[in-house]
Symmetry: D3
Subunit: 320 residues, 6 copies
């Protein structure tokens, strides 16, 4: 694919882009045309469709992926695409991660590492639960890979949920080596599952906004519901027979309490050591990633101003 950042005057274009904006307009002569902004993950470019209702261009709308055939021209010192043909594409023809903010790490690579963690859980019930979710539920897996971990602040990009889940799981795994009272099966399972309902709390990109159920219930409670349905089954899907009640309570509790404080939306404080550990891993990754994104987004070496997340004026170390 030819990325927008690489386009030059005179190029011929024949690629799929996402429609970021589209407005009907009229030339001074009264001729209707469309002002369009095309987007991929490298940036945006203006485009004009001078024949909006011709047979050569499909109907399409904002957020659609559209194959654009056209020419790159320069107008008032800025590049612009004159559209010749436009064809609305269907899912499968494009890779959404080419068009959206995306994790700097390879999504499939991260998924493979995550599956290794799944396979490392020895308890049969926890392992079964993880497999149902992360290895068998195709729709869930697809959404899990595409989701961000937040609407903004940190990990708000395609693959963000996966990247965050993996970072938290790795940190929990590190804790297990150092604190022998921790049960690794329980903690690794809880780490893998703690944010699974982010897939429902936020709509997928390019929206990435709170859903109805996200607003009403939140990912913490919906995560417990997902585990509950997986264990007890629903009208549509059988559950896991013989799942021990205590283990079910402990796992749900880790998910419920992973924000650590009632005022952060966890209705229970961590009551087992694994829940305490998960809360720390989640919080540590969130904050270190947030700081990383602040440093990446700023130029220069001076003080970066007050950041609400850190309640402080912040700065990068000046050590080389």
């Amino acid at each position: 694919m030819r990325y927008i950042k690489e386009l030059k005057e005179g190029d011929r274009v024949s690629d799929i882009y996402m429609i970021k904006q589209k407005n009907a307009a009229t030339t001074k002569n009264g001729k209707p045309y469309d002002n369009i902004i095309l987007q991929d993950r490298t940036g945006t470019i203006d485009a004009k469709n001078w024949e909006p209702n011709s047979a050569a261009t499909d109907e399409f709308d904002v957020h659609d992926y559209v194959e654009i055939v056209g020419e790159v021209t320069s107008f008032n010192g800025a590049l612009q695409v004159n559209i010749k043909r436009a064809r609305r594409c269907s899912e499968g023809e494009y890779d959404a991660s080419d068009y959206l903010p995306v994790s700097p790490y390879d999504i499939e690579g991260m998924y493979e590492e995550l599956i290794k963690f799944v396979d490392s859980v020895k308890d049969q019930y926890l392992n079964r639960l993880l497999c149902m979710l992360f290895k068998e539920d195709v729709e869930f897996i697809k959404k899990f890979k595409m989701s961000s971990a937040a609407k903004s602040v940190h990990h708000s990009f395609v693959g963000g949920l996966l990247q965050h889940t993996l970072a938290v799981t790795r940190m929990c795994d590190f804790y297990c080596e150092r604190y022998e009272k921790l049960n690794r099966d329980l903690l690794v399972t809880a780490a893998l599952c703690h944010d699974i309902a982010k897939t429902n709390e936020l709509s997928l990109y390019p929206d990435n906004d709170y859903t109805d159920s996200g607003n009403f219930l939140g990912h913490i409670v919906m995560g417990v519901e997902m585990v509950d349905r997986a264990i007890h089954g629903t009208n549509e899907r059988p559950g896991i027979e013989g799942f021990p009640a205590v283990l079910e309570n402990e796992l749900k509790h880790c998910i419920l309490s992973h924000h650590g404080e009632l005022e952060f939306g966890s209705p229970k404080k961590p009551a087992i050591m694994e829940a305490v550990a998960l809360n720390f891993a989640d919080n540590t990754d969130a904050k270190l990633q947030t700081f990383t994104e602040i440093l990446e987004s700023e130029d220069g070496t001076g003080w970066l101003g007050y950041k609400k997340n850190f309640e402080s004026n912040v700065i990068a170390t000046r050590m080389s």
Copy 2:
């Protein structure tokens, strides 16, 4: 039944009592006997079983209901029962409310009033859900009638959950007459369901203590789970077909947010007017009932001292 408060020296006893305590002891002559405390709702009395292993007395334990045949004597100025025969009773032989703190209102009468509220809900899905719980689920209904609404503080007696649920529902009904933006079906259903999982959060009397899942999850989240299972079904029980997703979210949201503040254990603040109303009704009844119980438990007319629930020294009005 002859209540403990009415017993006098010389009486012959032949009634069922609850065993509050039981300890093995030995006389100075080395003969084993049992020190026992009998309880009913009017008080307690010491008892001695001088022949603990004879054929005349069954094996029994703390919290068992036991038919006691014996004689009331006086020892060191206190009454005491010398046990002749003791027979462990089975459920059905006694009425637990004779032995435990119990609501001043008639339980069956309150249940009837509650069912009228169930029947007044016109929306087919909400009505179906309420019937499944309050009219069809025999085990749930039994626990619901026996449960307290709290471990202590207020409504901590048999029937307390029913009394509280009814008071909250009536108040919500009153609100609906006065604030026309409130949807009565939704609010009455939410009022009836808001504390249903108290039946699982606290064990039944005489224990009335937090269960494992009560500690780990709490009645707010378990209440949402109960609604979720009723709507979507489980391996064991079908759900309600066609239940609208928005309605499901709104009802669950009312339950989730009914404590009103994150720091009181609700992971979401009320976001619809019905949830705001439910929070007020729940809180108003809890506080007015708590104050009522303080006034009932105190003698005299002076200042009653600092009460943590009200962050104040309190007193009854001295108006006649």
Copy 3:
């Protein structure tokens, strides 16, 4: 009266309007004229007085009520009144509620219901106090009917204080039926009096802004002062002989503590059950009314955005 919303091009106007704005201006030819905005409760309209100093137009200023004779024309697509004659009206010629935001409920009807509550109080001292205020003090009654219950947020319209006071009193009356420890005379009196000093804390419409004493003392303390003066008399007015000291303390305490928390401006927490009840009734009506006003002011059915009063994104139920 012909309301502004109903005016059409070509109409002749001859009615009283409130002056919302008035600015002196000059035509391009150097001729002075007045730019005026007329207001009634249905909206506003631009007006021009081309002869500001002629005998045909009185002197008048912002917030005056002025009889306008003129013609409705259209200028740049907007309606405008060309003033021919303007006469400053005196109180009595107009009904302020035609010109200001006003309660949706009939003011006199609400006042009648309120008086029924006054008459229902049997204690002679409390009844006397209520009569002095609500039946005999003509100036107070007039201000009470015209006042809002707040500068903004909720009930900020003519009749708002009356509407709120009535709603709180009704709710307290409902509590009395349900919680027998409540003394109805005391609670109903406290409900009727809890916000009486709002008549002094806020200036009347169209200002509706904090007064000097409102800023310095607030309606809670001024309410206690009003009760104190009514009971003990002043240089100008005798008090109520024999008013029991305990009852005086209890009533003042209910007023003082009705905000429920020190940080909300109550210098004492509720210490009697009636004060607890009043606090709940006040808060419940304030919040349900606020939510009602939010729903009334918004179009559409989607999420309405974060509302500070509810610390949440809010929405109307989508049940029909």
Copy 4:
């Protein structure tokens, strides 16, 4: 007077003491007698009245001042007074400050200094108000001199209110020299009046406990009421004619806001500079006096343990 601390075995006693406790008892032979504890400001001593109903001893009760004639004996290694005669004294026969915790400063001397501050206020209305209270109201002056400034914590002794009021006034006077924007008349008046209602909030010694109105209203609001009645008069006493409304508001506001924070019981935050200054003077004296009393009550030079008022382990400086 012979103080309790100075009594020795064999002494004959003939002095007035306060009755701290009195209980009827019976000897082994069935003869009734009274167990009594006598108190003066140096301590307490046990006493026995072996003939409680004889002509030689008046009826008396706890908190009475009683002239005791008797003999000091030793019983079980402790001193004890055998009462021969007991006569209930009337006010005027004794000086209460001999029997109660009392300010280390001379009460009349402090009162004289306070009157000098009264006389230094030039504004006629404020001066009139101060004279009415501090120079003319005999009963108030008597209570003001006897009151403590708190139930415990600091200045909880006879004369404590006077000592505290004087210290606050002096400090405000010092501020006025340094901060020229402060109005001295207003600030000195507010300092003198800020705690006047402590005379009603706490009962006099030896009780020194919250009164009914102290619990219900508190000294802040009652202080405003006292000023209100002095200015506007009551059924029993005329007010001050022509007292300017703004000045009345400002003075009341200083009293209302002198605790500085809503959560400390002030329903308004200081809004004028004089109110800010009064709050600092009040708080500074309270805390420095509290620390002084801690240091006086402790022996030794080491760390004195955690003190809740200072949220810290405290210690005296070890500088000589």
Copy 5:
């Protein structure tokens, strides 16, 4: 010196001003010139340098003090200086306090009063420490006189630190007369030293902004470090032999705890009475000075609006 406020059209200028802004610009004919804003403590004036690179004008930059020779003209109704010659001045040629916001009190006069306090401290070690700082360390003294006491809010002008330090010391001196448990030597020394590191926390005027170490460490901790180095010496300067360890701890503690609360940046709460007193003196002066500056900056006599520092709408007293 001729102040900017006094300049009139046609004046010839020949004085030193501070450069507040300087931007290169081009005339329509393409000729380069400089847009400059000149500043002194009375205000600012626009200036143009039409020959920026000529021999007649030195290189200079923002914050430089520059002798300007030129003429005052009027352009578009505003005064403007046409620069003929410009010479960059060196320190000593000008008095910075002519160009910057400056204390209304004489800096040298305040310094003399401060030195009297230094001389009044009798303890040899504390006196030695104070002399090292306030009488011998020339560079420190110079910065101390020039520093403000805050970036904004209060005392943010040249001499502000000195004025605040003196006010706090005077108030502590007053406390010592009234509260005999206070050790004057310790308290006066602590008052003099409490903000010494403000000289490093904020850069000097005209910047007056947080330095690197100000951001990273703050003046509280740096103040302790300055005392530590003075007592124990460094590679560059010997310390004070025999300084008692307890005294060192007490003095440092007063500095550390002078903000009074952990959330205000003091890592320890005051644990000795002198630390409590210092905290009150510091806070009292800060708040009364802030209120003074608010009153000075506002015209009129009405309500001045909500002020965050006082969490209230504020107003000046209307007493004459």
Copy 6:
């Protein structure tokens, strides 16, 4: 060494024990003797010295280590040592860790691992600083190995400070592998130094209580002072020439801010990413170690009750 737990009736004792308590007593015959409690890390045993002033027993006191020669007898069913000879030992004759609560990890082994971290720091200035402290300052190293990390709560045993410092450093090292924006030299140095002043905040075992400077300044500020003295030198010891000022600020800032919140005693919030990371590592280890110690100190598998540190009733996972 023969541990107290292993002693049996009839044993002859000849070993060094710590004196936990010592009280002079008298036999019924009026003969003086000493009641003593001996301690080692396995427990305590009563002892009697029947000849306290004989030549066979040295003078000794609580916390002394004393070689005891004697015999184990049984008295009233409890073991007791009859002392024959007692010799006060000097440091070096015993290993304190035999007598005190001690880390479960080998102290020298942990120290070796810590030195490896020291050696891994490449920056010459930071490495020099670390060597001065951890490799050259013999007295500091000795105290560092013996210190606990807290008076109670967690790591309150000999070697606790070392164990905690190592755990924090390892976790920081782990973070550096995962978050590339972190500077490893700075973060590892800060981790090693963050609690160095705990060696002065708490006295050594067996006291382990707050010192004077611990109370007045705390380990956070004293840690910064220790770094300051190491860098800048004192009268007694030269500093590190050329240490960069920015680096000094950053390192001190990490130490200052490592508690993360002002209310936890850090006068600054973390402003660089390394400070954020250190705060998380410190907090994570503290909480996971605290939970570990709770689980180790409790028997059984049920709920362990409310733990203030976790604001929750806690329990161990019941997974095997």
